[in-house]
Symmetry: C2
Subunit: 345 residues, 2 copies
């Protein structure tokens, strides 16, 4: 490959010495000029992955200035937003600024879009020092530009939904799509969603029920979240449990009608692998959507418990996932209320 050629994966923007994909790269080339199959986006908002933001929040004890400084430093040195600790990124909303003549994405200049690929592989330049962001919260008003590759995906932001709401749906739209697919592989399964009051959790609950789950259990960490989830009417049973406590989680799920055939892990805190495995039935499936999941903890945890469960890495891409998630939000008032409740905070 010469420098003048581009690869649909974005390989031509990797500045590392080793040949790695943009997601695995230490540093990306953020030059403004496009290769022929690329698209440049004028960024208006970044949305950090929840696990990434929480890590930054913990590390800097909630000091907004320090959090903002670290985000700026990461993007400046790496040419992309990838939390070095969690490995995760987030996504962005913006307006199409320029479309390369060979771009296969079908985007038009001026269209308002959200990226459906992670910020961890998206060349990004911040031009306003994030001056409008107080460093608190996952949503970052931002002026700057980002680049999409030939194989990237972007979704148009729907006209009937506020931008922030669309963005928060798109951020997690892989979860309900994969949940649907897994539920469809079982006959009238029991489905537990851990972190059911959150964005990916509530959408996954709605998807599971639509796809034929016979019994749904929503696990949340607090009574406040339990009340909100009960009011949303998305789960047959709502239980409060600390997902990091494997025995407490197992007992709570069993009491609510488990163990589950399918357990969907949507909580962005480390240490939930054992409890998820322990509260899943033999020949059941655990879907890990949390970026805080440890591969070895899951693999060795199941082995250590002699648990015959299928464990899926939650792939954020399933064809049609964005439209599916928007439809769930429109069709289920409870989902929309939970999303809007989170935006207000």
């Amino acid at each position: 490959m010469t420098l003048s050629e581009s690869d649909p994966t974005g390989l031509h923007r990797v500045l590392d010495d080793a040949v790695v994909l943009p997601q695995a790269a230490q540093r990306l080339d953020t030059r403004r000029e496009l290769w022929p199959d690329e698209v440049r986006i004028r960024v208006e908002m970044l949305n950090l992955d929840a696990a990434s933001y929480r890590q930054l929040e913990r590390k800097h004890s909630g000091h907004g200035d320090a959090i903002r400084a670290e985000v700026l430093e990461i993007v400046r040195t790496r040419g992309k937003m990838q939390n070095p600790e969690t490995g995760s990124g987030g996504m962005l909303v913006g307006t199409v600024e320029e479309v390369g003549p060979a771009s296969p994405l079908g985007l038009e200049v001026g269209a308002r879009v959200s990226t459906l690929v992670s910020l961890t592989l998206t060349p990004l330049v911040i031009e306003d020092d994030l001056a409008r962001w107080d460093g608190l919260g996952e949503r970052i008003p931002c002026d700057g530009y980002a680049v999409l590759f030939g194989r990237s995906i972007a979704a148009k932001v729907p006209g009937d939904l506020p931008a922030e709401l669309s963005l928060s749906v798109l951020d997690v739209c892989g979860a309900p799509a994969l949940t649907s697919r897994v539920v469809a592989g079982y006959s009238t399964p029991t489905v537990t969603v851990i972190g059911a009051g959150g964005k990916s959790g509530s959408l996954s609950l709605a998807a599971a029920r639509e796809e034929g789950a016979a019994h749904t259990i929503g696990v949340v960490p607090t009574d406040t979240e339990a009340d909100a989830l009960r009011a949303a009417g998305l789960a047959d049973e709502v239980v409060v449990a600390d997902a990091r406590d494997p025995i407490a989680l197992r007992d709570a799920v069993v009491k609510a009608g488990g163990p589950a055939d399918i357990t969907v892990v949507c909580v962005d805190v480390p240490g939930c692998e054992g409890g998820a495995i322990l509260s899943t039935a033999e020949r059941g499936t655990v879907i890990f959507f949390s970026m805080a999941t440890s591969f070895s903890a899951a693999a060795l945890g199941a082995e250590g418990l002699a648990a015959d469960v299928t464990m899926l890495v939650g792939n954020g891409y399933v064809p049609g996932h964005a439209e599916h998630a928007f439809r769930l939000l429109r069709d289920h008032a409870g989902v929309r209320r939970l999303f809007e409740g989170r935006l207000d905070r």
Copy 2:
């Protein structure tokens, strides 16, 4: 739970302040006395997980004394062998020393067994300072004791196979079992095994072919391994590629008849997620058996490539996995030759 009660998961041996399963614990209680459902094993050999041993080897530049010192220090401070960097452990062979009156494992005193649960959750005391080990290689002659819980699993070491060979089969027996199950879910699939010359790789190739794979591709890193794998006759195509180079891997696999419907990742080096995803067909499945797998690299890598692939965390436990692997070894002379070649080194 009072101190006098035990839990089949081994929770009663966790010394951490938080309630976590033994696998996730910082430190285990290694007291010699058994709870009623436990079994104590007199250890004769430890077998470190390949990813763990390689990390130690790299860290200490291959100095055996330093590697041995670190293993001793880990086991002394944590009460189990869990590499803090890779999170992985290994397994052990020994003789049943004492069986608690309530043990459900069906073991008898004097039986020669291997643990099928990871060392990362097995209480372990080393009593000979590993004096017979030069620190080089994954197999560690050892005198000491280990404890099995109610829900642990152990396999009898077969009488017709040398102990070292049995141990190296049991170490990876989850891989061919899960590969079989996944292959059975496809109709005449193409199967790629990355790291096909190794233990889990060669067994997985044999399992895939037995289960009906129409075309098998073995990927190895060197010409020497390629020659050995060709001689073993386990794969339809043998190709040499660096699995960490995603583009090279994709191109090599495609040239050999891919992309694969099922890609089995058996190489214990970091950074193989992107290449595995890229060389797998749409609606295909990637099974990650390597403990060097990064959860976020897999999840975000697939999303970033808009790749509709199912990604499985390689669960080391599938019912009947030990017997299945021993049978594959006995039935496939090529598998046995590859295993014995590795033991000789």
